[in-house]
Amino acid sequence: MIRTSLAVLVIDENRIRASIIEAGLREAGHQRVTVIHDVSGIARRIAEIEPDVIVIDLENPNRDMLENMFQLSRAVKRPIAMFVDRSDQASIEAAVDAGVSAYVVDGLRQERVKPILDMAVSRFNAFSRMARELDEARSELESRKVIDRAKGILMKSRGLSEEAAYMLLRKTAMNQNRKISDIAQSLVTAAGLLGPGDE
């Protein structure tokens, strides 16, 4: 039996994440993938695309609008149901935890849709991990900059070597049970307040 490929619509305001999902779907052999970032005029787009599966991020405030549209047969040609509604509890939780949901055309067999949702869930999770790592890298860089400035202040004002300045920061942090970057930030702030205003 020949199966026509499923038409998948991805609704995600985050362009980077949407393109990651799209790439994943194409790698999995789905050629009819459409990505929408902005939901204005979406009823018309859905009528044109006639998607079998709609993947949407849970941050999107337009879910209520979409669900209402799916329930009005006038707006969409084919009735659309929420996928997770007839799925197993584990899939539902995995999807909500990842921050994604899916809607499917009524009557579409679950085993045809599940791989799509699973893929979306794993890509959403990968994206969150990536975003978290990027955040961490950014704050790591920030901390390093502020520690360098604090070391400079100590070296200048107390005539310490770079290593001794760092040791002093570390010891203070340990004694106060705080992060080195926090101690460094306090020192930089204090130096800014106490120091000559023109520097």
Binding site: E59, P61, D64, M65, V96
Partner: protein
């Protein structure tokens, strides 16, 4: 911290989540031994999903939403009960400047009177239809919302068929004013601050308010997953007491500034405190320089505002039937009757010795003026609770009410 109960609750960034937010942020929950974790959500669908899979124990919900869940009208629904109401009123109907001009040409004046505004809107709609112009498009926040049902009630009572003479679409509250300004919609019914926002931007006029369509009428509620409520009766009772104290605090005019500042925080509404004041004072700018003070515009505590009246749930049910959202059957009626739980409210608050209504339901529209009712020794004032068109809703006469509404719509 050593709190006795851990409760996780969801809310939408709307002012009427204030009683729940203040309970968590101002120590009312902590004083009852509750560690209340609040999570802001972006859609009612998310709230429903997270209640269903157990991320949230309970949430700030639209009054009809738990009914819709229990009646099987939504995907992924879990059985939800309502042990507490988060207040009465708070919504407005706002229209574009163009529609206001059209209504004004048919006798509308900025006095918020629902009958006069409705008559003018009807005349304007018929004039547009005769000229072959497309139907006006109104927005509400959710199909199963007080907004949708009160907008439809108002229009139908003014001879406008909301199914055929206008279009009703769904728009998330924070996008309403923008959608109106750009002409994608012609009007909307939403809670504050999203009406005053359009007036402040000069792109909208408030034409009437929920507090005049149906005096002291239900809006948001606490919806709790029934399974959770049954397994954690003490946590629920403690929370209801915390919400009671929070609601009393929210009602006190002396706390308005502090409450507005709390809700203005980025984690809650993220809108400046000044925008929160109209809902608290009932003093509304209507657009074009007109203003009006509305009595009982939003009532978070007084008038037994937190009591989950079964008659409120049943009125929502009759509107679901009226607009074809659900079939009127004895089974569905029984589901609607069991959803709101005044028994839980009563048993939780009994130790406080506060005034409690004697009945679980009341005839809506029977009280024309504020009326003291005797109950449990303490004094309690109810109402007025009238509909603007003088209709009465008797929860013991559901069949007759449902039938009378069929006729009203047919004539429209």
């Amino acid at each position: 911290m050593g709190a006795e109960h851990q409760i996780t609750a969801g809310f939408m960034p709307l002012f009427d989540s204030a009683v729940l937010v203040a309970a968590g942020e101002l120590g009312f929950a902590a004083r009852e031994g509750i560690d209340l974790a609040l999570h802001r959500e972006t859609s009612w669908a998310n709230i429903r999903d997270r209640i269903a899979i157990g991320h949230f124990d309970l949430a700030h919900m639209l009054g009809p939403m738990p009914l819709a869940c229990n009646l099987g009208l939504t995907p992924l629904a879990s059985e939800t009960i309502v042990p507490f109401s988060l207040g009465l009123g708070g919504n407005c109907v706002t229209i574009s400047n163009a529609v206001w001009a059209g209504m004004a040409a048919h006798g509308a004046v900025p006095d918020l009177d629902p009958a006069r505004a409705g008559a003018a809107l009807g005349a304007f709609i018929r004039e547009r239809a005769a000229a072959g112009r497309e139907a006006l498009r109104f927005a509400v926040v959710h199909p199963h919302s007080g907004h949708n049902y009160e907008l439809r009630y108002w229009l139908a009572a003014c001879g406008i068929d909301p199914e055929r003479q206008i279009e009703i679409v769904i728009v998330p509250p924070p996008f309403m004013a923008d959608a109106l300004a750009t002409g994608r919609i012609d009007g909307y019914c939403v809670g504050e601050p999203w009406n005053s926002a359009a007036v402040a931007a000069g792109t909208g006029h408030i034409v009437t308010v929920k507090a005049l369509l149906w005096r002291n009428s239900p809006e948001k509620v606490i919806g709790a997953r029934k399974a959770w409520a049954e397994q954690n009766p003490e946590a629920l009772a403690a929370l209801l007491r915390a919400l009671h104290h929070s609601a009393r605090w929210c009602q006190d005019p002396a706390n308005r500034a502090e409450l507005a500042a709390l809700m203005a925080q980025p984690g809650f509404l993220g809108q400046e405190a000044a925008v929160q004041m109209p809902i608290l004072t009932g003093h509304l700018q209507l657009g074009g320089g007109a203003q009006r003070a509305v009595e009982d515009f939003f009532v978070p505590f007084d008038k037994a505002a937190n009591f989950p009246w079964k008659s409120h749930a049943l009125w929502f049910y009759t509107q679901m039937v009226r607009w074809g959202h659900v079939a009127h059957t004895p089974e569905n009626l029984a589901i609607a009757r069991d959803c709101y739980r005044p028994d839980l409210y009563r048993s939780a608050l009994k130790p406080l010795g506060v005034a409690l209504p004697g009945a679980n339901a009341k005839v809506e529209g029977a009280l024309k003026v504020a009326t003291p009712v005797g109950s449990a020794g303490a004094s309690l004032v109810l109402g007025p609770d009238g509909f603007f068109n003088g209709q009465i809703f008797d929860p013991d006469e559901i069949d007759a009410y449902v039938d009378s509404q069929k006729t009203t719509l047919g004539e429209a």
